[in-house]
Symmetry: C2
Subunit: 83 residues, 2 copies
């Protein structure tokens, strides 16, 4: 079971990057394997206290890194998009 997602508002590192870093760790550590779903954006909003906009920005970072793919109406998944 995933550990709590948190951000430190006093850190000079932007919130979206802090969240992106944590999500990246979950994936590269194998805690969330390929094809497995990440927490929904709403859930990340709840856990972090960030706004939806900021959470989406964090996820977009991983999208561009190719670490996750998204399916509208479904969720965010680890690994490469499957055919």
């Amino acid at each position: 079971m995933p550990r709590h997602l948190t951000v430190d508002f006093r850190s000079p590192t932007p919130s979206y990057r802090q969240l992106a870093d944590q999500l990246r760790d979950l994936i590269t550590s194998g805690e969330i394997g390929p094809g497995e779903a990440l927490p929904s954006l709403n859930r990340m909003v709840q856990e972090t206290g960030l706004s939806m906009s900021t959470v989406q920005r964090a996820v977009r970072v991983l999208l561009e890194e190719g670490l996750v793919y998204t399916v509208p109406g479904r969720g965010v998944y680890a690994g490469p998009r499957k055919p």
Copy 2:
């Protein structure tokens, strides 16, 4: 001198992507050479009628593609960030 930036609101292609595509063309075509400044974000807002948020998102696309770099307080420049 750069041609007018425009977006078609009836297109299914998102506005931020339309703008990003146009800016990319300006760079890859050499119309804006390495080290040269792109129009300021405010200027892009004026020319396109988009919101600042959307314009910034478009520029972020090019940033992640490594086609431009930004200098806060200065502007957006074509090419790789200089050492």
